[in-house]
């Protein structure tokens, strides 16, 4: 398509640019709402909230032992479990509550035939705007072999 200089830009291109910019303009406020609703990572997913706040997530696998839950020894986990856990941590860090550890539990049960129950706890540390102190929220996921 050749157009002479001095004419207006093609309508299709104008629409494309306008639509792209409208999306870029609208996404960050929606991203802020999604962060509040699902604890997404403010630094990720194109919300441009880098250096606006601090959050970090800690995910731990737990097993029942003598009536209490204690952390699994990660060094002793089978390689597929370690891989699934690493991928879960990476995705959970960005997606917050939208990413559950169900697939990690499945891999654990597949690799550890003797295990009947497990608990995954995810602690999210953040800076409290009202106090300037570190606050935390905890999410727990209980799984048993019969679910899979």
């Amino acid at each position: 398509m050749t157009r002479r200089n001095g004419e207006a830009a093609s309508p299709g291109r104008v629409r494309f640019v306008a639509a792209l910019l409208v999306v870029v303009a609208l996404w960050p406020p929606l991203h802020r709402v999604a962060v509040a609703a699902w604890e997404l990572n403010p630094w990720k997913l194109g919300g441009f909230a880098m250096y606006a706040t601090h959050t970090t997530s800690l995910a731990v696998l737990l097993e029942p032992a003598a009536g209490v839950w204690r952390p699994l020894d990660e060094a002793a986990l089978a390689p597929p479990v370690r891989q699934a856990l690493a991928e879960f941590r990476r995705q959970r860090d960005a997606l917050g509550l939208l990413r559950t550890p169900r697939d990690v539990a499945r891999v654990v049960f597949e690799n550890e035939p003797g295990r009947e129950h497990m608990l995954v706890t995810v602690q999210r540390l953040h800076l409290e705007p009202s106090t300037g102190r570190i606050g935390s929220r905890k999410a727990q996921y209980f799984y048993e072999r019969s679910e899979f």
Partner: protein
Amino acid sequence: MSGAADSLARRWLSLAGGDPQHAAGARLRVFRRFLLFYGAVRSWLWWAWSPSDHGLLAACALVMSASAALAWSRRHEALAPWLALAPLLVQLGWRFVSSANHLYLELLCVALLCVADRRARPDRALALHGLRWLTVIVLFHTGLQKLLYGHYFHGDFLAFMVGTQDRFARLFQLLLPAAEVARLQSLDPWQTGAGPYRTGHLPFVLASNAVVLAELVLPALLLLPRTRLWGAACAMALMASIQLGALELGFAFLFLNLLLLFAPPRWASLVLPIFAATLLYALGAAAGWLPGSPHDWNLL
């Protein structure tokens, strides 16, 4: 989109114009050369540092390099961003959800450059206006997000960074007494209830609020033709000073070059070799041929 909406979109986009139509091509040429060269270097660093998928990442880096080379051919330069689209989408998909925001920004810039037709000046002006609006919107949102999260009124976020990162501590010891820096550094950021990451020292709190205010006000200065140069100069100074604390060269390089689209055209040509040399240095250091640890520069 109806005719009225079309006309409204044209008027809206042209608010970021104001300079002669023939100047758009020259501006875009320098920006395109920077952007695609940056993308090629970033892609090779990604390939070098990745623990897996080296074949895929090498293919992406090769295509990005071909695209960067094409940007230096006046005959084929308009095709260069089209070539970069596919590897960029692959890279974004490969690290999706964990991708840094400047990768999205890079993709948006490349998409807008695809709009520029070598043969049609109006399309080049449209691409330039789109890139300028992108700069204005992103700068405004970085300020708005800081406002919405509410950690800058009392300086909490910067106090947290002083307490947890040496680079921020070194920078802000100019505004904070040594005892206060030591207090912030003694707090355990992994301990619930630790804090307060808050300080009553006025110069520090003012600096914290000034960052937000600048990010909210400078976009308006960039849009008004009379204040555009000052807006661009102030925004570049802000971006450079932020780098003294947050070493985020990927975002900073991209954004400085976007801001240069508002400055006199010569500026971008003058500083292009500096950006190129720094990126080449990062490649050399990543290969172990030069001193330094570009891993810490956040180029990816």
